[in-house]
């Protein structure tokens, strides 16, 4: 095999890796053009504190944030009044086939995972939060009173951004411990 042939195998290997890299599927719901399944779940959980992770399946910071949330937020708050929605967004080149394997990052039974293929939440949050940069990485807390009435999701009561520093976004940099404290505070306020 000549040197040129060997070097030519490198891009072939990369393309194969992209094809084969699609992991085994976890459970997630592909949202429709109105994000109805998520909207229904969100409103059915009114009266509870809700954590919504708006993340991209191909963004390292988003995946890292989700993993930290599993460990430091969900792993430390054992309260059935906390609900979690993970919205995988088609950002940073993310595709539906990338979602399967990343759903295994958050294993908490209170969590439901969604793929926003129609960009309902993606466009709404990007516009609402004026997000610059290719990635999502927003971790939002909704209080018990929050309801989703219109087409766009409501504004979060509290949020942190995994890319705040990187893309100079005007939100607090994501910190799983601080987010956990905030979630506890909202849960305590709810129970009073």
């Amino acid at each position: 095999m000549t040197l040129v042939t060997k070097l030519g195998l490198i891009p072939v290997g990369l393309v194969l890796a992209l094809k084969l890299g699609v992991g085994p599927g976890g459970t997630f719901i592909a949202l429709d053009g109105a994000a109805q399944p998520l909207k229904n779940a969100f409103n059915a959980d009114a009266g509870k504190v809700r954590l919504l992770m708006y993340v991209s399946p191909t963004c390292g910071e988003c995946l890292r944030g989700a993993k930290q949330s599993q460990k430091d937020v969900l792993g430390t708050i054992d309260d059935a009044n906390l609900r979690i929605y993970i919205v995988w967004a088609p950002k940073n080149g993310g595709r539906q086939q990338d979602v399967g394997r990343v759903t295994q990052i958050v294993t908490d039974p209170r969590a439901a995972q969604y793929w926003d293929g129609h960009r309902v939440l993606t466009d709404a949050y990007d516009r609402m939060l004026a997000l610059s940069g290719p990635c999502a990485g927003i971790f939002m807390l909704y209080g018990p009173q929050a309801r989703w009435n219109g087409t766009a999701p409501p504004r979060a009561d509290y949020l942190e951004d995994a890319h705040a520093h990187e893309f100079n976004r005007p939100y607090p940099q994501y910190d799983a411990h601080r987010l956990a404290d905030k979630a506890r505070e909202m849960l305590n306020t709810r129970s009073k």
């Binding site: 040197l3 990369l14 890796a17 992209l18 084969l20 890299g21 699609v22 992991g23 399946p57 191909t58 963004c59 390292g60 910071e61 995946l63 890292r64 993993k67 940073n92 080149g93 993310g94 595709r95 990338d98 394997r101 990343v102 295994q104 990052i105 610059s132 940069g133 290719p134 990187e166 893309f167």
Partner: protein
């Protein structure tokens, strides 16, 4: 023995440069990074993100050292009839490593320009 040591140090420098420069940029290339590194690898790569500048600088220094080591005029060793040159493969690895380093910098530059305009990456 000395020849092997020389080759090993060049190779080590080249490989280290390649790995660090690739690691510095791979967290930016979306689906490919996930496919190549897996979920845990991508999460680990993201942890290195704040150190990207240091990784790239460090790998450039390593590369410079490796090139110097590979291309400097080899001294004649005792008992050898002529200077011991660095192997062809070592030099090839070094050039590949340099290509990776340049690729990492270019990807970084393009990523910043495209991303900050809200564009799509790779």
């Amino acid at each position: 023995m000395t020849k092997r040591l020389l080759q090993a140090s060049s190779l080590l420098g080249g490989a280290a440069a390649a790995v660090t420069s690739a690691a510095a940029s791979i967290c930016c290339i979306g689906p490919l990074a996930i496919a190549l590194l897996g979920v845990n690898g991508a999460i680990l790569a993201a942890a290195f993100k704040p150190y990207r500048v240091y990784l790239l600088s460090g790998s450039l220094i390593l590369l410079a050292g490796a090139f110097w080591s590979a291309y400097r005029p080899a001294p004649v060793r005792n008992g050898a009839a002529c200077p011991v040159p660095t192997g062809r493969w070592t030099r090839l690895v070094l050039w590949v490593a340099l290509g990776l380093w340049i690729g990492a910098v270019v990807i970084q530059y393009l990523a910043n320009r495209l991303w900050l305009k809200g564009g799509v990456i790779l």
